[in-house]
Every structure is written in C-alpha cells, then in structure tokens.
C-alpha cells in the first residue's frame, strides 16, 4: 500500500540513507534491516535524510528509536537531516531529539 523506498550511500564507515514516502511500521522495519546490515559491514555513522518523507507515524518513529539504541550499543551514531517542519515537531513531541541530532543538511554531521 505504501510506496516507501530508500537509497543508501555508504562510504568510509559512514552511510547516508535517503528515504522517500510514508515512514510507517513496515518502512521502519525495512530501515532497521538496512542499518543492521550496514552495522555488520562496519558502518558506525549514519545520517537519515527525511527530506522526501512528508508523513511519518509513531510506530515508525518508535522503531527508529530502537534503531538508534542499537547503533549506539555498537558505538555508533544516527542523526536525521532535512526534516519537514511537521516531522520535526513530531520528533520533538516524542522526544526523539533527545536521542539523535536533527540536522539541516547531511553534511552538518561532519566533522564531529
């Protein structure tokens, strides 16, 4: 039903994942699988670009919180970039900004 897709660009231990479409439970699970895969390949720095995701639900965000915890448990970090104002508000209401940085651009994540 949903038309969620994403593209990953991984280089030098860092990955930028650009999402497109509705971030729901199914989409969150797809992203989780992708990040677990990347963790297995040694990637530890993640930026999730949500510019093309105009709609997101609380289940999707909850899965993302789990993903952040998972990345952190392995010494990594996951940031979000280019959120729409509404999505940023939702993230703040749910307190996700306490778990991850909300960036204006992908490049803002570097250097730490």
């Amino acid at each position: 039903m949903g038309s969620f897709t994403f593209k990953t660009h991984a280089e030098g231990g860092r990955a930028v994942i650009r999402t497109h479409g509705y971030l729901s439970r199914t989409a969150g699970e797809k992203l989780e699988q992708e990040i677990v895969r990347l963790l297995g390949e040694g990637v530890r720095r993640f930026v999730m670009n949500l510019h093309d995701t105009d709609l997101i639900n609380s289940v999707g965000i909850s899965i993302l919180i789990g993903v952040i915890e998972r990345v952190r448990a392995q010494g990594g970090e996951l940031d979000f970039s280019e959120l729409t104002p509404v999505n940023e508000e939702i993230f703040r209401i749910m307190g996700l900004h306490r778990h991850a940085r909300l960036l204006r651009t992908d490049g803002e994540a570097e250097p730490r």
Binding site: Y22, S24, R25, L55, S58, S62, I65, A73, Q74, G75
Partner: protein, 754 residues
C-alpha cells in the same frame, strides 16, 4: 570459588562448584519456546554449524535455571559435551580465572566420558587428571593436559591464556565431539580482560559455541567487542505467561507436598508478574506457612527476597552507579514513586517539582538509575518495569539505608498528582459552564447586533478555561466589532471559502455583493425573511417573494426604504434562480447555513417545514471506509490532504492533520473488534470547523486515556492520542453501541498559532 588461588597447582581439589545442580529433565519450569529454540540450535551444532547465543534478562528471570535445565538435557542425551561454567563476581586475577575455567572443562570432559557425574565431587591430583584425560579423550585429552600444564607458574603469558581460551574449540576439533559451553553470568567478565578469557575466536566457534547469560544488554560490547552482533545472537527473556506461571507454581507446590487451589494458583501467577524467582519465593512462603493467607505470604516472601542474593545485587548495582548517598536516596524515592504510579510512568520534566527536590539532584539520580539499567527515560516518560522483585527490593533498600518506611517525597509526589488530576476535572467543568453561559448571552442578543467575540465562543472557552463569565463580559465591553445577522451568516459559512463549490456558498457570496447594506451595523434596517424551497424552480419563488414584499410596501405595512429581503433556501438555486437573486438584490442563505448559525447561537431556529423535516445537514460531508491493510491509512491521509487544500488550510496545518488522522486510524485498527477490521472515516466541513470522525467497532472506551501512555505496549505504542491532542484543536471520544468514535476538530481560518 577457585578464583584468586594460584594458577596451576590448586584447581583440581576445589572443583565441586562446577556441578550445575540436580538434573531433573522432565520437570516443567516454563520457557517452552526457549527450549524449542535451543533444540534447533543443538541440531545445528550437531551438524557443525553452531552459533553462540546470549540470554539477557534481569536477575530472577530464570535464565540460570533455563541454562541449568538445558545442561541436564544435553548431558543425558550424551551426544554433545556440555561444559558449564558460572563466572564469579569480583575477579581479581584473570589468569587464575582462565586456569579455573580450564580445570573445570577438563573435569567435566572426564566425567562426561565416563558417564559419572559424581566424579566432579572427587579430588584428583593433577597427574590423575592428566592421565584420565589422556585415556578418555586421546589427542584431545593430551591437549587439555598440556594446556593446563602451560598455565602453571605465577604469570602465564598471553599465548598460554589464548590456548586455554580456545581449549573447548580445539577439543571439539581433535575429537569430533561437539562442545556446548554454558556460561552463566558472563557479565562478570567485563572487569577481567574478557578479550583474553573468552576471545572472539572462541565465541565464533561453530563446533564449540556458547550460551551465555547476562543481566544487561549493555554489557555485551565490553565483553564481546564491537562486532557482537556478528558473533552472538541476543535473546531477551521476558516474564512467564500466566498459564506457565500457574503451572510452575502447581509443580513447585506439589513437589513440596502442597496442593494449591486454582484461585491460589491464579493469585500467585498474577502477583509474581511472571518472575520465576518471585513465584518460587511465594510458593516457598506458602509451603512454610500454609495458614497465613496470600497477603501474609506475599509479605513473607518479600522479606525473603530482600534478604537474598538479589537484594545484594541491586544494592551493589545502585551503589556502583550512584556513589553519593543523598542522590541514592533520591533515586530510591524516584523508583518508589514510579512503581506506585504504575505503568504510565511520571513525566521526567515534572519530577523535581512533584517530589519537592532540587532539579540537579533529580537529574543526577535519574542518570544513575539509567546507568544502573533500572529505568529508561523513554522520551519524556520514566519507564520502570513493574517487576515485583524490584518493587520489594527498592522498598527494603530504602528502609535499610535510610530507616524510614515511606519516603515523604514520594507521598508528596503522589498527592501532587492527585491534586493535578482533580484540577483537570475542575478545569473541564469550568470550561463547560463558561461555554453554556456564553451561549446564553448569544441567545439574549436576539440575533441583531452581537459582539463578534461571542461567535468565537467555543474557541474562546477552550483558550480561556481558567476565566469566568465575568471575564468574557469584560472582554465584550472592549469589543468594537459587532455583527448583524446576514453578516454573521457570511462569517460563519464564508470562512469555508467563497470560491469553493459547496452548496449555498455561492449564494451567500452573492449576498455579499450587496455591499455595506448587508453588513452594516444599522439598527434601522428592516428585515423581511421568507423560507423558500429553492432548487430548480427558485427563480419563480424569488420573483414571487419580491412581488409580495413590494405589495406590502405599497400597502404601507413595510418601510419603503432600508429594507433587506432575505430568502432562506431549502435547496441551492439553479443558474436562473441565482440570476434572479442578483437582479433583485436579495440576501440568501441555505437551511444548513442557518442551522450553523442556530447552533452557534445556542437557540432553536424555527424554520417553517417544507416537505419532510430532515435534520440539519452539514455543508459538506465525505465518508470513506478503509480495510485493515498495511499502510492503508496513507490513502485516508491523501484524501484529507486534498480536502484540506480545497479548504485553503495552510500546508503545515495540513501536515499535522494528516499525522493526527494516521494515528487515529492506527488506533482504530488496534482497538477495533470488528471481524472485517474496517474503519469508517467521516469528514465534515461545518461552519468554521473541519470535523474528522474515525469510527471502529471494538471495545468501547469510556474516556480518553491519560496523555502519553507512552511506549508501554510494544515499544512506542500509546503515543497516538498524545500526538493527536497536540496536533488538532479538539479531540474527544464518543462511545457508540458497538464501538467508539474518535472526533477530531480543526477550526478553520485560524493561523498556525491559534
């Protein structure tokens, strides 16, 4: 424990501790799913494709018992060599620990080969052990004996330790026998060079993998390194089901000669919260004092729990994470408060205020509790598992450390929450009362000249719930904007947008073209209103109305000037009718527009009936039914987006409405009880309101759950209503006969701020 003794020369005689307990393979202890999973793992190991596994759970969850039972089963089957090792706390000498592990492996290998578990209780000299190993395991036995000899001396080097660590794998490789290492409390390795004692190669062995237990998942990376996910499958042990708890309680009681009633079993299953440790304590207390009743038993078992190993575990853990005694007291009070508050958990931001504590103390205490793994701050909520063991231990620790029964801060916080709940109720009542008063004022205005503030009655009440009717009257006295009836109708309906194509709007827009005459606050204007059927014959009706008015004017019954003719229409006019209205300069409104006005005024407007009387219809209504398909709520959100754009709602507000609708749909699917799982959506544009109804057939809810009952179902669920409340102007639940309807309201014409 052997740890701390000199390596090489001391281990054999002290090896009784490795015995993993009485083996009773047929005893039910719960964990049926886990045992099935372990069976599959054993089959993989038999094929040389084993993989290490880590069970993470709090103390008292039954992970050691699971490992113990599995050891017994593997031992009795005799196909795989089970090697049990319980890692001690307070390891001082890693080399001594490595030696101890190797001695233990050697002894268990010998006992396994001879099928003689009693061998583990005997004392063997190093020479006897070496000889036994050689004769039982051939090259593998020689390897073990040589590796053991290599550890002799005061400080064995890294090479010797590395060989010792890989001994299970090498034994399996040389003998063709699969080895399953069962390592209890592996978390204790964290302080003892785990990379040397249990290196990555040992964990990754497909022919000698391990099943570990540990208390906290955060211990994994320090022990297994950053690649832990590639090396170990992590499994979290949850509480036992009610059925399994009940069955386990019956078995434990029966084995002690006590037959429990179904009622007692159910109570034990409920009170234990699925914790095998606590369940065992309850049953033991019942066996020891069968006449004391469940309440007394619970007290006795709580006392037993608090005097045991678990209390020491939590004491050490909290003291390690929070060394400052004063902060630790605050931490225990926070825990007590959280456990008494129940599963919603208090708001972390309000905790200091509630508990009358300095903010810095509360922050330090929370950080310490999080570090100790006792609580999680899930967004803004503090989440503590309602673990009966933890509950009793916390209370006992507080009493023990600070000599008081009930922390005053906790009592203050609980009282503050009660006051807050009461004030919310009061506020709602005040709002309702104010709204009624405002509507009374509107009715008294009799529809001619009305301060515009009163037409914002609903919004005003929700914004100023703390004020009284006197404040509204004061606000009215400063209000210069007064509205007359036609103007009001246009304000009410015109907010929908004069360019939209909803029934009646075009006519009202036509009325506006009459300029100041229609909207002027002029008391001298005389009004003549007539109710007309409208529709395709509307032109004739308009002409007839105008002709009648002219006749009355000619007769002197109506003034000749400053007369406003106002046609109230049952149905919209056709093009010919509109032309007539324009030519004759009439004001027109539809019945539904008039209904909106009537509702705002809070008065009954008696329009003359035309044909069958129908309820007042909304200006626009759209309905859709969505099936329970993954992500189907997206379809509803897109439909809402289209509608909201037509209503000229601003983009950010549309975004919020979409999220609110999506959350409402997800909630409706979750709570719905209908077999087909369908959810009905109704969008209504009514005056200045956009109403969205989300209806499901399921369990009726009598009231909205409290805000942010967050993250307690599966993680993160429970946020739906909190988000909805934040994103729309009003939200309420309307119980239905066979379900519930969630009503969300968005006021049109408001900016994002208001």
């Amino acid at each position: 424990m052997m740890t701390g003794a000199k390596p090489g020369s001391r281990a054999v005689a002290e090896s009784r501790a490795v015995l993993p307990g009485a083996l009773e393979p047929d005893r039910f202890f719960g964990r049926v799913g886990e045992q099935r999973s372990l069976g599959l793992r054993a089959a993989s190991l038999a094929r040389g494709r084993g993989r290490s596994l880590a069970y993470c759970a709090r103390p008292g969850s039954g992970k050691t018992e699971l490992l113990r039972q599995w050891h017994g089963r593997v031992y009795h089957e005799g196909k795989i060599l089970p090697f049990w090792y319980s890692v001690p706390r307070d390891i001082r000498d890693p080399a001594a620990l490595a030696c101890d592990i190797l001695v233990s492996l050697s002894l268990q290998a010998l006992a396994f080969s001879r099928r003689d578990p009693l061998l583990l209780t005997r004392t063997l000299s190093p020479g006897q052990l070496a000889e036994g190993l050689r004769s039982a395991w051939g090259a593998g036995g020689v390897l073990l004996a040589e590796t053991l000899a290599g550890l002799e001396g005061a400080t064995p080097g890294p090479f010797a330790l590395s060989k010792a660590a890989l001994a299970p794998h090498r034994l399996a490789s040389l003998t063709g026998t699969r080895v399953l290492c069962l390592v209890d409390d592996v978390g204790n390795l964290a302080a003892a060079q785990p990379g040397l004692i249990w290196p990555e190669e040992a964990t990754a062995s497909p022919i000698a993998p391990a099943i570990f237990t540990l208390d906290d998942e955060s211990q994994l990376p320090p022990i297994f390194g950053p690649n832990v996910a590639a090396l170990v499958t992590v499994d979290r042990l949850g509480p036992l089901s009610v059925e399994a708890s009940s069955r386990l309680a019956r078995n434990l009681a029966q084995s002690a000669g006590l037959e429990l009633s179904e009622q007692a079993l159910a109570a034990i299953a409920r009170d234990s919260g699925g914790s095998p440790f606590y369940l065992g304590a309850l049953v033991r207390a019942l066996v020891e004092s069968p006449g004391s009743g469940l309440r007394g038993v619970a007290r006795a078992s709580a006392a037993a729990v608090c005097d045991g190993e678990l209390a020491r575990y939590w004491t050490d853990r909290l003291a390690g994470a929070i060394p400052d005694r004063r902060i630790r007291a605050t931490a225990l009070e926070i825990l007590t408060f959280c456990l008494q508050e129940g599963e919603d958990g208090p708001d972390a931001g309000r905790l200091a205020e509630l508990m009358l504590k300095p903010e810095a103390d509360v922050e330090s205490a929370l950080a310490g509790l999080a570090k100790a793994g006792v609580v999680k701050v899930d967004c803004t909520r503090i989440v503590v598992d309602d673990d009966p063991v933890l509950r009793d231990v916390v209370q006992a620790l507080y009493r023990r450390e600070f000599g008081r029964m009930s922390p005053p801060a906790v009592l203050a916080a609980l009282a503050a929450e009660k006051v807050r709940g009461a004030s919310l109720v009061q506020r709602r009542l005040r709002q309702r009362s104010l709204r009624d008063a405002v509507l009374g004022l509107l009715a008294a205005c009799d529809g001619q000249k009305v301060p515009s503030i009163l037409f914002d009655a609903t919004a005003y009440c929700s914004r100023h719930g703390g004020q009284g009717i006197e404040d509204v009257v004061t606000a009215m006295s400063g209000e210069t904007d007064t509205l007359t009836m036609p103007h009001v109708i246009s304000v009410v309906s015109g907010r929908v947008g004069s360019s939209r194509s909803y029934p009646g709007i075009e006519l009202d827009a036509l009325a506006w073209t009459m300029g100041p005459e229609a909207g002027a606050p002029d008391a001298d204007v005389a009004w003549v209103a007539r109710f007309l059927p409208g529709g395709s014959g509307g032109a004739g009706q308009i002409e007839q109305f105008c002709s009648d008015v002219t006749g009355l004017q000619a007769a002197g019954e109506l003034p000749a000037e400053r007369l406003v003719r106002w046609a109230l229409l049952e149905a919209p006019l056709d093009d010919e009718g509109r032309l007539a209205v324009s030519r004759r300069r009439l004001l027109t409104s539809t019945r539904s527009q008039f209904g909106v006005l009537a509702r705002l005024l809070g008065v009954a407007v008696n329009l003359p009936p035309l044909g069958p009387v129908s309820p007042v219809e909304p200006e626009f209504e759209m309905e859709m039914v969505i099936p329970r398909i993954a992500d189907v709520e997206l379809v509803a959100a897109r439909a809402l987006e289209q509608l909201a754009e037509n209503l000229a709602i601003e983009a950010p507000a549309i975004g919020k409405l979409k999220v609110a609708l999506v959350e409402a749909c997800i909630n409706a699917f979750e709570h719905g009880g209908a077999r087909d799982g369908r959810v009905r959506l109704v969008f209504t544009v009514d005056g200045r309101r956009l109403e969205i109804r989300v209806e499901n057939r399921g369990r009726p809810l009598s009231a909205l759950p409290p805000p942010a009952a967050a993250g307690r179902e599966s993680r993160g669920r429970g946020w739906g209503l909190t988000l909805i409340r934040e994103l729309v102007d009003e939200v309420s639940l309307e119980p239905r006969e066979d379900g519930v309807c969630l009503l969300m309201v968005k006021y049109l014409g408001r900016g994002e701020d208001g």
